[in-house]
Amino acid sequence: MENLAENKIVLDLLPQKFGKQGQIWVVCLLAICAVGFYAYCRQLYYGLEVTALRDYASWGIYISNFVFFVAISLVGSLITAVLRLTDVHWSTPLTRIAEIIAVSAISFAGLIIIVDMGRPDRFYNLFTHGRLQSPIIWDVIVITTYLFISLLLLYFPLLPDLKIMIAFKDKNGKWLQKLYEFLGSFWKNKPEQFKITDKAINILSITIIPVAFAIHTVTSWLFATTYRPGWDSTNFGAYFISGAFLVGAGGVLIAMYVFRTHYKLEKYITDDHFDKMGKVVVLLALVYLYFNINEFLVPAFKMKKSEEEHLMGLFTGEFSPIFWFAISASMLIPILILVFKKGRKPKWSFFAGILVVVGSWFKRFLIVTPTLLHPFLPMHDVPKNYTTYIPTWEEWAIAGGSLAGALLVITFFARIFPIIPIHETIIETESHEKA
């Protein structure tokens, strides 16, 4: 990073008002959310009948979306905790991006589960009548815990930045100033305060890793603890976690590029960041590819009669276009792009990130739905539409609305708070100068 004066850093990194592009972006997201909300109102009124969910495919794109959100939220623990604890400093400008992705994704993971319920008014029964033996209860506990830890991990490093922002009273506007003062008026840059904050961040960084592993392992157990083709696996936890780190890292690549170009942060999110993050994505894609080979090759080698239909459906059957697209887009092509130095330049990295995220969404769909449509016992005497799953417009609208909602949270966060930690950047610049 170049040597920059403190004031310059502050002015560069302070949150900025939406420009025309930003406004259009927000309006588009709000419109998608509104359509999703209308579709959800229809679902509430008419029931799950408006969806394509039936006896066999009882989990569709809502649950795919849930798994996707949980997966992408893991990036918070990767960038903030794992890299921090391993004393990797280049990731400092990316920590807040990773954390806000984690917070918004995990919030919408919780919401989309409620959307999937036929009677959302009975949600409280999970707490009043839940069985401790059920992985669903573990998921509820662990997701709530992860959300709280992620919020704290977002908040503690934000405290010194809040003091900086409070100083720009004229620029902030009335309600933003009130918000900053409510959140951080007590921060006085005292050494004791820094000491407590550093300690808290360290504790959080250590705590979030097992919790993050737990959220996605437990999510994988929702599938692996049931006896079905494609889910009956002992390494589903590791398979899910490796995939989650990949999609999260892909999401960070996209966010890095968007924030860098939109807010002109080239001095802070440098080509070097893309280079290093690109290498991380290659590593994660290779690990995930390994788990995929393991997950599909072993059952395909045995080709048990009961699993054959499911596997052939993925390899050459009705799901094969999505399957090969997901494998290529989320792993093979990003590896081929990012393995070369030129491919780790911002634009190519952005493209690879999009491929990873889109491919990973479809990968989650493939984990959830084809298995449900290929039960061990053959389907008999069921209506034709029970044997297939084509999501209705309501499902697409709700799923799209939830994705837009998550992006909206990130967008508003970037509007209100500095997306790159100001104080940490100043400290690192100073230490860089001293060195």
Binding site: H129, G130, R131, Q133, I149, F186, W187, I196, T197
Partner: protein, 291 residues
């Protein structure tokens, strides 16, 4: 003119051909009614009829056929025992009602008749059966021996019957388990009886060890189906076992295994203690700021 006539004949053939084909299609199948008689424990008697028809070269059971059951040889209203409709297995069952007592007592032999009226798919059907009234009585003897005696009504006297195959065993869910290795026991000529040694000592019974032993004559041409059963305390006592209140991974709410509860609650308490501790740290930072 001649050409027109040929065309007219051809048109007539074409017009008539579907109706000819249809006439063939609606040709009715014949229905066979197979009637059986059952004497249950010398207390109740019932008749079972099975309706069958040859469709596509195979005999198939026919449901939804209304059957009229008669006692005697004539389909007379006075002899009518009742009407029943065949079920999915093509079977209809009727108990011989007390109102048929007079007809039943007339003779040591008894005839039955079943009739079905024609339907859209099937022709009218008829079946009959002639039996000699007989009784089978089960009992036990010293040393876990099962005895059964078969008698038949000759004029007005019940006489022992020889050379009838009797199955002796234990009644289990879905069938009869033979009392020993022998499948059937022929009745002797002197007493009409059979003796079977009970060799199923370890068989589970009810809470008191009671099992039901049974002697049965199946599908005898002359006497029909007879069965007689009784309870004996020769089985192993079954204790009522339930894990409903046990702590298992599959139990209801609040009955999870202790190890799971300890593990889960320890983790939850540990992690949430850290979160609460950190919330207190925020309070501490706040306090430091206002000092």
């Amino acid at each position: 003119m001649k050409k027109h006539k040929i065309i007219q004949i051809l048109l007539l053939i074409i017009a008539l051909s579907p109706s000819i084909l249809m006439a063939q299609a609606v040709e009715k199948n014949s229905l066979s009614l197979n009637l059986k008689y059952f004497n249950d424990n010398n207390i109740t008697h019932h008749l079972l009829v099975q309706a069958k028809s040859k469709i596509d070269g195979k005999f198939q059971t026919i449901p939804n056929i209304t059957i009229q059951f008669y006692i005697g040889t004539e389909a007379d209203k006075r002899n009518l025992l009742g009407k029943r409709v065949t079920n999915d297995r093509g079977e209809a069952i009727i108990e011989i009602p007390p109102t048929a007592k007079d007809a039943w007592l007339k003779s040591p032999n008894q005839n039955f008749l079943v009739v079905s009226t024609a339907t859209k798919q099937f022709e009218a059907g008829q079946g009959d059966l002639a039996i000699t009234k007989a009784k089978l009585k089960i009992d036990t003897a010293e040393g876990k021996m099962i005895t059964a005696k078969m008698v038949a009504l000759v004029d007005t006297i019940w006489k022992p019957i020889a050379a009838v195959d009797v199955i002796v065993g234990v009644k289990r869910l879905g069938g009869i388990l033979n009392a020993n290795e022998t499948q059937t026991f022929p009745t002797d000529s002197a007493t009409g009886g059979v003796i079977a040694e009970f060799k199923r000592d370890s068989i589970p019974g009810d809470q008191n060890g009671n099992i039901t032993i049974i002697a049965t004559v199946a599908d005898n041409d002359k006497y029909g189906n007879l069965s007689s059963e009784m309870q004996v305390p020769w089985g192993k006592k079954s204790l009522y076992m339930t894990n409903f209140d046990h702590r298992t991974l599959f139990a209801r709410r609040g009955h999870s295994p202790i190890w799971l509860e300890l593990l889960a609650y320890t983790i939850v308490i540990a992690v949430w203690s850290i979160i609460i501790f950190l919330l207190f740290q925020i309070k501490k930072i706040k306090k430091l700021g206002f000092e």
